[in-house]
Symmetry: D2
Subunit: 476 residues, 4 copies
């Protein structure tokens, strides 16, 4: 409900005869990073890829007979976020596969290249043909056009040309590569499962697969993984400035994942604790907006010494497919997903903890529901600073004018959502929660407008998805 949406999750496996099954389970563990579509490509001996792509959750759309067909001991997989428009482009579902002079290549990408449009125009002028609107295709064209002999050298060359965020898994006939842009915007980890190696966006995927967490891929690093489990590290961009996405610990990553050096659950509890110190208020009860607000609310309650209670229950049956009545008598919206626990709320002074506030409309509806259930006072607390700017590095954000905090003061927001008091975690508080030694390695662009790298907005007329200038719009 946060209004920010993660772009993708990626998985790569090499050295296990059940590669497709492991990727399938890994994508399931990363389902929170993208629910629109999923794809798996495996390498079935020789150089031939087999694969399957489908819209919907990975658990719904990869029946056993499909998995069984995806033979091979290496492969890559991808979860895709939900696009904004109505168009659903099958050919935009990753992993992409390409036939090139250096062999067949499969690629899965989490992130967003900020100078893709400019490079694409140059490539088209030289006769290149594009079939999707994805920035990932630009990466592949550069790889195919490079005059270096070696795949690895080609990758380094491409990394020096493209800008933006990319955590990639790339499969060739005899290697699995995992690479991360020099800023390290998006997470990428790897681990071992016997002699097989598993790469994934977050460590929770390794946990599900019983793979032992090894370490994160470093920002700017390429790891080259051989079928026997040998891992070679190449680090052509070692000293770059870092830019870990601070919204990963705030909202995106799963609480049981370890990314950017620490378990997310711990970071969120600390955000709640700092928030409690920064925005103390006298109250009877602390409640969370489920599910993401729970760790912060626990941290808040412990720090404030106010009892934590369950004030909102989530209906677990509201999935992506729930069909809301079209000409609804009135707006059922949030009520379909959440319902109030009257005995927690009635006559109480309630502190409500959520992770972030994007558009404000969801908070408005939740607070109305709490008020109607009898809450006497409502103190809204957010575990992150006000969001004032869009992200260009792999997160699907609303336009700036729909970001509540970009155009409204805290007091205006408080009034709009109907809270008695409103408190955000400060930027300093967020840095404190992220930890002294690590705070400088994060990107806080959506809270400050200062990005570690110029997002090149002037030359990319449409940012996130539409590479095509005048281009392909829809439908295949």
């Amino acid at each position: 409900m946060a209004g920010f949406r993660e772009e993708c999750g990626v998985v790569g496996v090499i050295g296990d005869p059940d590669a497709a099954k492991l990727i399938y389970l890994g994508l399931h563990a990363l389902q929170h990073r993208g629910q629109e579509a999923a794809g798996i490509v495996t390498l079935n001996g020789g150089e031939e890829f087999t694969g399957h792509k489908a819209f919907g959750l990975v658990g719904d759309s990869f029946p056993n007979e499909i998995i069984a067909r995806l033979e091979g001991s290496s492969g890559v997989g991808h979860n895709r976020y939900s696009t904004t428009g109505g168009s659903r482009l099958t050919q935009n579902i990753q992993p992409f596969t390409f036939n090139t002079a250096i062999g067949n290549i499969a690629i899965a990408h989490n992130g967003n290249l900020t100078n893709a449009y400019m490079i694409r125009q140059e490539l088209e002028a030289m006769g290149s043909i594009f079939q999707s609107t994805s920035d990932t295709e630009v990466f592949m064209h550069l790889l195919a056009r490079s005059d270096k002999a070696d795949v690895l050298e080609r990758m380094v060359e491409v990394m020096s040309k493209v800008k933006g965020a990319y955590s990639l898994v790339i499969l060739t006939k005899d290697r699995l590569y995992a690479l991360r842009d020099p800023f390290g915007f998006r997470p990428l980890v790897f681990g071992r499962r016997g002699s097989a190696v598993v790469v994934a966006s977050e460590s929770c995927a390794l946990e599900l697969l019983d793979a032992d967490f090894d370490r994160e891929i470093l920002p700017g690093e390429i790891i080259e993984i051989f079928p026997d489990g040998l891992v070679k590290s190449h680090h052509p961009f070692p000293n770059a400035r870092k830019g870990f996405c601070s919204f990963e610990p705030v909202y995106f990553a799963r609480p049981d994942s370890q990314v950017f050096g620490e378990e997310i659950y711990n970071l969120r509890k600390r955000m709640g604790q700092v928030l409690a110190r920064e925005t103390a208020v006298d109250a009877d009860v602390v409640i969370a907006v489920p599910d993401s607000g729970f760790p912060m609310a626990l941290g808040y309650a412990n720090e404030a010494g106010i009892p934590m209670e369950i004030g909102l229950v989530r209906n677990p049956y509201v999935g992506r497919t729930f069909i809301e009545p079209s000409q609804s008598i009135r707006d059922f919206g949030v009520k379909l997903k959440l319902s109030p626990v009257r005995s927690t709320l009635y006559g109480k002074r309630v502190i409500v903890v959520d992770d972030s506030l994007v558009r404000g409309t969801t908070s408005l509806k939740i607070l109305r529901m709490l008020r109607k259930a009898g809450a006497k006072e409502i103190h809204m607390r957010l575990g992150s600073p006000p969001i004032t700017h869009s992200c260009y590095f792999g997160v699907d954000t609303p336009e700036r004018d729909q970001l509540m905090a970009a155009t409204n003061t805290a007091e205006e927001i408080r009034e709009f959502i109907g809270a008695d008091t409103l408190g955000f975690l400060s930027l300093e508080g967020l840095r404190e929660a992220l930890g002294e030694q690590n705070a400088n390695n994060y990107c806080y662009g959506c809270f400050t407008g200062n990005y570690p790298e110029d997002p090149c907005r002037t030359i990319t007329p449409q940012a996130t998805d539409a590479m095509g200038g005048p281009g392909l719009k829809a439908g295949f």
Copy 2:
């Protein structure tokens, strides 16, 4: 995961031109009471019913064009639990509709008639034809065969003949009836939405519809509701012994529902508190098995003065349709649904609170997961007494020999699941949590084997579903 499954949820609406939409939303709120199938029948002027029935969640299988087709200002709806066998009988999806001499009647039933088989044999001998294997059809045949002139009198006559559990909504051309067996095994409530009246299994459905909770239908009561909102109460069996199902507050009912006189969330917190007093142990942290264990764990933690933390995260994308890999390398089972939060568990003495223990296999897997994540001690606590007997009053329970506590001592269970200590809420503790004045009104049959009414097992060869003796098995 409890191993006990609720049989059904029912909704009835009269006096609102959007009856089908309201029923649809009401069934969504009651989805936890049955996920296999759903049906809605409305009365579209005159005496003609229209309806739709489908397998799957109500939110998945009632698109807007279906709802729009279900015209009328009154109707009934039903959520059905998941059958054990592989057969999926469309004609067993409720509500049932019947053409009878007293007009067309639609009926939706939560519960189980214990003497249905015997009555059915008598009716067949007199030329009656049965088309489903449902006990509900017996109720209808008795209603159709009665020689009383008035529908209400017929209902009273049938109530005196059938035994067992039934919370029913019955729609005729100009009335909505709601009735509850004299024991009141299953909940049934009603409320008002303007001049319309809404009947539902639990109050959470009224909440979603913005209907004002009026009261519970009394055990043994029939309420007769007119299109203009007039409600007449008939109470032919006023002084019967009560038998509220104690598993409703333990597990079935939603925490935000008010049933049997109190909000469930409160009852569960109290179960946790009593449990803490009865099974105190020194520990570092209290965690819940999500989601149902949360209120009890909160109650436990507060009472014990031990901090509550999140130790297990539920993957929200495991729905009913998740396809588990068939030849799975090993049992992923519980790991697909739950994952451990390492920083909560590592090196800690952990109290794990769940609502109940049925087969024990889920607990076994959870405890292994916690142990692997580093828990130093694990103290398993259950918010209800050991389950030792089957239920014959509307709950789908495993055979007795699969009930862990029916054949094993607490020490054997502790060893099987791998806990350091194990503690159940005592029967006295459960009674205490349910409240002094109300405790005698409950059925504790599954914990004690003492039922408020003889379940007539001797004459019904197959208990819950199979009415057919030599009968219809499958497929339509």
Copy 3:
């Protein structure tokens, strides 16, 4: 395209371990008798039925895994015609199964009971419950309520009570019965496949199954078939007046079927020959309206000594699912199904032969198409007399006011459809084609309004489908 629709086809098998497969194939051979839905019920040892019902063609909706589930060596199947309204009632798909005091019974019915409504009212007054709107259910209730001890005696009793058309297959735990109303309105045949016996509406189903045609069930006969292949004939109504449907040879039955004593192809060619004698005209070429008009056109061409050519080609890809553009620029209608062969038509005097004319609108469109393709003269010839009355004996006919010939003279019809001349086969001509010795055994009600039995219209407010007076309308 004829505007008349057959109601159903039935199949029964006993004594073959692959009963479901044989029924499946038999229904496929009888698909022309009903395309809306299909059902198969088999008896899997003991008394338990298993079954499957689905909308759509039998070849589309019975995948192998379903067939495999339908174990047993006896069974019955049913093809259902397409209903007129939008409602699709799953519970109206046959075969029906019933639990009764005389055991479980499955039934499949081709025909229509004309006094079902009246009997149903009586049964409801005695406490019977109806679940479908089908007249077939009335037959079953009478069977269940009979006080005779023996199933066969009960059948005879029921046959003496119901009126109208019924070719039935009835399966009990140890018998397959096949019976036909005393008039023999609808066909029903049986044959042998090794020691198994197969019953079917038309002999073409036996042909596909490699079963040897034995004979037709006689009008008023009940045959009782045992699992070992023994067939006992019972003939309680031997001397009744016959009423074979004359529209079966005109249009419904497949040309390769033998029904009512002769192969249909022969009868149709004779209709064409007589038609040629009755409606001779000077012309260059004879063409058929595909596919049903072919045999008559061949007969016509041979008799007239005018060459037969292909003037209209049918597009084989127009199935029931073809989606016609909604806001079609103009009416593509018939053009989607048929296209003209210019070299056959251009500048020619063309005789067009079709089997019958119901509404006239299709003929109008076809003749326009022929004219546009250059036909100089068009002589429309129909292989049956003008249709002036509805059928109440198992055929879905338009209301009388939509029957072109009921309200228009031949000259008005000719002008409406745009033919240069128009000729119908006369009633005498039809009788001649059907054969001297057999002509009196046919019902010509739709051509004459004289039915062999009073269709009881005064007491059945809605004729064909709606048994329910004020009844169930739709949707389950």
Copy 4:
């Protein structure tokens, strides 16, 4: 059933606001040219394409809401044949769309480029990326890489490089191009519908759309069509040798189509007439194998003076989706599709006319069926010469060793299929039927092994579909 399968049908429309609807209907008329999949792409103002692609018949998979979404006044469409393997590649469904330096281009292709593999290897070496295994992508890459400024000049350049068969429709932002390889292997026609222009593989599509047939695109011609209906012809390869596919009039094209200068129905009747003269035999009756054998059988019967009858009836309900019982008791094969008319066959000397004989197995089954129905003598007649070689110009043919006539004498074939006599149309007879002045313009490669152009087999390891050498195999 012929064993040869057409590769594709194409449609293009420019200048009509309902372009998508017209293309949809045109593809329906061309459905016989490809049933596996269909696609439509339209140009919705500006340069943006919208489109939809789906497996299955066009009438099944383009519902009205899809058509409505395909806005624009120009577009192209494509029907695809059924692939041999199990893999169904969504990204291989045409029309293809490409973003190139000369703008966005959509293309639909009927035919097969014989030197695609060689060119592809060269292009990959220069950094080109391929995403499908289609030869059509090679055409597009050459177009994108050309250094000519003008699209038309680029097309001419590409036509001089590629070899093989191609009838193409190509859509740019302001033009519709239609072009045909210099041999003219595959048909391509255009016509006018008001001010709009429609291009299609066969004239039957124009007929359905009420478009006036203008003329065929000439071999080697490019026509350039403007939005206002202006058509400019460019003819860079005017004097090339012709190579019209002779299997189009024998089997592929619809009988009501005019292709290669004459209506197909006429050509087929002439084939039957010549066949009758070449293979005369004394017999009682001539029958056709439905549906394609009908015109030849009529021609045969007229020439031979033997009556034509219907001896085989086609079951119209056997579509592509018919599910044949897996563990079928015995081979039902042909019986599911065809059934014998006993009265035509019993005791008769029968001449059976079919268009061609590929594998011989279908003929074998048909003749067995006829024999079992009582045919006394069976004289098999084929309206084309023995097929002895594969096609490399756009037809999906079996490997040579599966072509019955490639490895067997006529006498061996006769014995195999069980005919009393067997007669093929001779090559000279086929030329005679095709007409003196036109016979030299045809390709008879499948009958003779002499192709108008070397099919370059030595350098393309896998012929028809697999461009990828070691390449992409399956699944997306």
